[in-house]
Symmetry: C2
Amino acid sequence: MKKIINDASTVVAESLRGMALAHPDLLRVQEEPAIVVRKDAPVPGKVAVISGGGSGHEPLHGGFVGRGMLDAACPGAVFTSPTPDQMQAAIEATNGGAGALLVVKNYTGDVLNFETAAELAAADDVEVRTVVIDDDVAVKDSLYTAGRRGVGGTVLLEKIAGAAAERGDDLATVERLATKVIANVRSMGMALAAPTVPHVGEPSFDLPGDEMEVGIGIHGEPGRARMPVENADGIVTRLLDAVTEDLPFGSGDRVLLFTNSMGGTPLIELYLAHGIAERLLAERGIAVERRLVGPFITSLEMQGMSLTLLKLDDELIELWDAPVHTAALRWGV
Amino acid sequence: MKKIINDASTVVAESLRGMALAHPDLLRVQEEPAIVVRKDAPVPGKVAVISGGGSGHEPLHGGFVGRGMLDAACPGAVFTSPTPDQMQAAIEATNGGAGALLVVKNYTGDVLNFETAAELAAADDVEVRTVVIDDDVAVKDSLYTAGRRGVGGTVLLEKIAGAAAERGDDLATVERLATKVIANVRSMGMALAAPTVPHVGEPSFDLPGDEMEVGIGIHGEPGRARMPVENADGIVTRLLDAVTEDLPFGSGDRVLLFTNSMGGTPLIELYLAHGIAERLLAERGIAVERRLVGPFITSLEMQGMSLTLLKLDDELIELWDAPVHTAALRWGV
């Protein structure tokens, strides 16, 4: 294992310390339990939008803490759910009196721990609603989930729910909009090469030199099929077919197309793949009205990509376009 | 070689097509010769800031085309200088009547081809000035250079010169500011694992499992030393010592610290390294007043990082903070 780290057991804590030093205008980091909190939290009268999950998917979630997106993020150990006490600390640190929306990716550990945290918050008289995102069309159940996994759609949900909370929407409205994103977003990913978890020290799976994993999860969980590597046209067509058939997305739909790198796939390849996806969608009469291209939900240095489609309407576009100021997404400010 | 591409010979062209589709509000791509041009170019009365170089370093340079940074970028083949006809097309497409500043990284091919382009522009009565950036302290001469190589400082130079041009500074002033950045910026990088150039198909160099290359260039050129892999504290100290000793940077200096991923090093490691660099600088009495952390000048999927320090004053800070709207850097707008 070759990594720029000091000790596998301190990677997350040291990385968070660096993040706090890099973005003093945006966020603060609390240790034990570890949370990343918007610098000016709590914002009185504002619904808090809180998420979290295993580390190793950066910039998700800490990179989305700031104005117009998340109020706090709870980073677990690498590829490991955060604990209820982290979530409780996040709810406390961001409580502006208008309640909190917990954004949970559908992994068993995350769901259980956020449930516990929601119960603790209710006991403290903080109104909490939870939404569970499960946008990955690849598999029904998987290594870490009952039902589908939460993947790229999470980024879009956090932006849209965060914008709603920022403009002053109440908790029921923020929850409704988050639920609307979940109903309208679908994703699928693939990998060419495995990531290496620091405390494991070996690649998460063994992928022969001529094979790829289609439908892979963001922790390297198995997907739909392992098959010979295809060219970019083949890979993008395969991902896009699976995503569009699922909802389904069809002619006349307006969409946001999110082309995501799993970490190790460089931008030159990602733009190439994005171009193919745009052309395929145009051929199918699906109008790409917004785009996001880059490494936003990763799996350490895993080589691979994912495609996410969100069906748009004017309400969602307005929230997507609203100003955001975080480490990883910023516009309008 | 495992990559998301169709054909090694069309990677750059296909990637540019995807980039144009991803950012229709920011830029346009012209083919044959290939250039990336700010959407609203030429801007009448504005100095054009133009750069270029081999592809494979994305988001450099095309990702910095837009308002407040570059007017055009000339992407060569992967790790290969662009040609004078690309540069000539860029000068023509962005000519607002106030002249052009050519930002050239110090590699022999780039310098020669930009020189030819400058001569052609002069024959066309476009006033052109050229600045050559050579911020890499690792080696005096290298595989592709006489003198030092241009690396991370290029990103900072393009931002600052671009901001000066955007606010209406004349060509002599924009050139002076670019020269000031060159005089005050220093960088050094390292690698843990090699990139693979698509048309070569094999890793660019062979780095055994327990070794790292310190002082590496962005094309995988040899650096100062190959040595056993150190931990993050050791790596960052080694890079920072070389950079600070060179100018030198010392107690009382105000700096911008740019912690860059070479592509394959994930954000969790990069923030960890950034935190170490901030603490070391604080110990030395050097005040970090601005930061940039991320993969901004890469070497395909090479694992590794670089550190860049720019000595700041109020003039440079004002230009760094000015609004920018490009694919890779955006704030204030």
